[in-house]
Symmetry: C2
Subunit: 187 residues, 2 copies
Amino acid sequence: MGEAERQAARAAKKKKGLVIVNTGNGKGKTTAALGILFRAWGRGMRVCMLQFLKHENASFGENKAARKLGIEIVPTGDGFTWTSRDMDETVARALHGWQLAQQKITSGEYDIVILDEFTYPLHYGWLDTQDVIAWLREHKPPMLHLVITGRYAPDALIEFADLVTEMRLVKHPFKEQQIRAQPGIEF
Amino acid sequence: MGEAERQAARAAKKKKGLVIVNTGNGKGKTTAALGILFRAWGRGMRVCMLQFLKHENASFGENKAARKLGIEIVPTGDGFTWTSRDMDETVARALHGWQLAQQKITSGEYDIVILDEFTYPLHYGWLDTQDVIAWLREHKPPMLHLVITGRYAPDALIEFADLVTEMRLVKHPFKEQQIRAQPGIEF
């Protein structure tokens, strides 16, 4: 391929906002999303993360770091709600989180929006995956990058996404060696 | 299990510095390491990252972010050197990088040391994997977390590590859709 052909090939490549999914049973789904956030912040891009599961530990490293940097990390949902007895409330909270996400996505205020653990409301049917995808297809700004994390990403979401990575657990110390989850690494 | 038993079980769990490996052909290996760095920085932990491959783009988002935060990200090696004709120089540079890593690891100045793309010098035999592991076994401070990223993690390294995740490529836009690698996401 000559230089002119290379240039033409390069120009033909599209630049567009990606839909990125980090799924699988391994570590690093949320952590890699935080890495994107860190990188993008380094470039002066506008980022926010919505957390769809509320975790037990109220002062995660990422929340502390985000506060220091003025990055928005917003908890939605009521966390670990698949054990909740009040399913109506669970659904209502998932819907609330999704409405918040829709606002962020269409606000024009961000270059990257991260929906952390967003696969769970889809997987458990608190939100309709097809409706969510249809909405994204119509309303996601073309240049906005959208990052979705969590286990059990529905097939339709994987089909819709541009970039999908499965984080696969090969070896886990907390199960095998009885080692505690540790601050800065796990949360 | 009663409360006393639960407490005993919890106390029996070890707290120790982990050896973490992010490998596989997918995205997110380095990015998840950056997420750890971001989290740990949020907690006021002392972190540094040594980069064993020099990349083409001199102003990665992560380097910009690190500079802003005063986090050390140090390039070693001469990057993409498996195509180098001067293999002696390649080996010398890998060794130089490893010596730098040894200094950082034993310095007592860090809680977390990240060796980014460190699997390559091992995989290509520029460094001896068994020697590296033997050194780590003897010299890594017990509480120091060590994070190693890159494809082709040698079996012996996986065996030695506490936590191993394979980032598996499910879908990649830059191959399938002719979309460019994009700032803030890819680098």
